[in-house]
């Protein structure tokens, strides 16, 4: 039996074991009964903060988890940068910027540029309405990023509708993340609990100063508190994260 046969045999063995694995997992998944659990309590108390329950759970009860998820994206963006030479030990490696400008067709030219405006405005609406209607920072940021993608795909990286440099994208991302972190710090400083929803003041006994509540309370029928601001931070971060990734990947296209 030569080496190749051994490796083919190994594939079969691995497949058998993965089959066992998936049988057990599928059995568990098909046979388990889901109970409402804590989400029942979240849904019970949520409407007094904002109408959109998903956003309220994501940004109030599990706001800290959302912070973590945002940082997964940030870490991934930084790592992409490192992969293409930014911040490598011993000095940055410059990737040759050879991404040619594209010659768009007439149809593309006529439609792409106005569409960018329309999409960006829609993304802003989704972001700002996140606590009332389905939507939010992640979704709004991704929608705005698609406008950037569209212009990059049509006009090329060098000459596209947005003249966003790597540096300014980074600043956007940093600002977005800092908005989130600092709103959390505001909760910590004013109430003693990180990411306390200051504007909504859900537990009034904590002694949060009234001026802070008024400052962060959002002009809306319900008092979503800091959630809309968190949405804005996340949107900035997500859109600049996606834009950075596509800038880096497109820039390295013909390396």
């Amino acid at each position: 039996m030569n080496t190749k046969d051994i490796y083919e045999m190994r594939t079969v063995v691995a497949a058998v074991f993965l089959g066992i694995f998936s049988i057990f997992v599928l059995k568990a998944l098909t046979s388990f009964e889901i109970i409402p659990g804590v989400s029942y309590v979240y849904n019970l108390q949520g409407p007094s903060i904002a109408p959109n329950m998903i956003t309220v759970i994501l940004f109030d009860w599990r706001g800290y988890d959302t912070l973590g998820e945002a940082f997964i994206l940030i870490t991934a963006v930084f790592t992409t940068g490192i992969l293409f030479g930014r911040g490598v030990l011993g000095g940055d490696v410059k990737v040759r910027d050879t991404a040619a400008t594209r010659q768009p067709s007439v149809v593309q030219k006529v439609f792409a540029a106005p569409l960018v405006f329309i999409i960006v405005a829609f993304g802003i609406v989704i972001t700002l309405g996140g606590h009332i209607t389905p939507g939010g920072g992640f979704q709004g940021g991704s929608v705005i990023a698609t406008a950037f993608f569209l212009s990059v795909v049509v006009f090329g990286l060098r000459k596209n509708v947005f003249s966003l440099s790597h540096r300014s994208l980074e600043t956007f991302e940093g600002v977005g993340a800092l908005i989130y972190l600092c709103l959390g710090l505001a909760g910590l400083g004013l109430s003693g609990y990180y990411l306390y929803n200051v504007g909504a003041d859900f537990y009034p006994g904590l002694g949060v100063a009234q001026w802070a509540v008024n400052l962060l309370s959002y002009p809306d029928a319900t008092n979503a508190g800091i959630i809309p601001y968190l949405n804005i931070g996340i949107a900035l971060k997500v859109l600049s994260g996606f834009c950075t990734i596509i800038t880096v990947l497109m820039g390295a296209e013909k390396k």
Partner: protein, 101 residues
Amino acid sequence: MRSLYDTLHETLKSRGGTHIGGGFTAEYMLLAFFPLAFVALLRGLDSLTSAVLAILVTALVAFSLPLVKKVSRENSDHFAIAAFYIAIVMGLVLFLMVGGF
């Protein structure tokens, strides 16, 4: 029959390099490790079965000497080898946990 030492020495020498001494130590350590590890693993079974299995494993190990070469090949950096063992362990862990033993 040639002595075990000679067999080992020749095989290890064929790998070249400076680690013949290390290879020898590794070889004997593996001989000691495998039965002991198996005894520890088969704790759940009754003592007679585990003893028999341990002896079997020892015999198996002893007859398949030298082991070092195989062991270091199976622990190399290759993606395929790592993926193979991960697949096996993933199946095995769930089998042992859910299927019980």
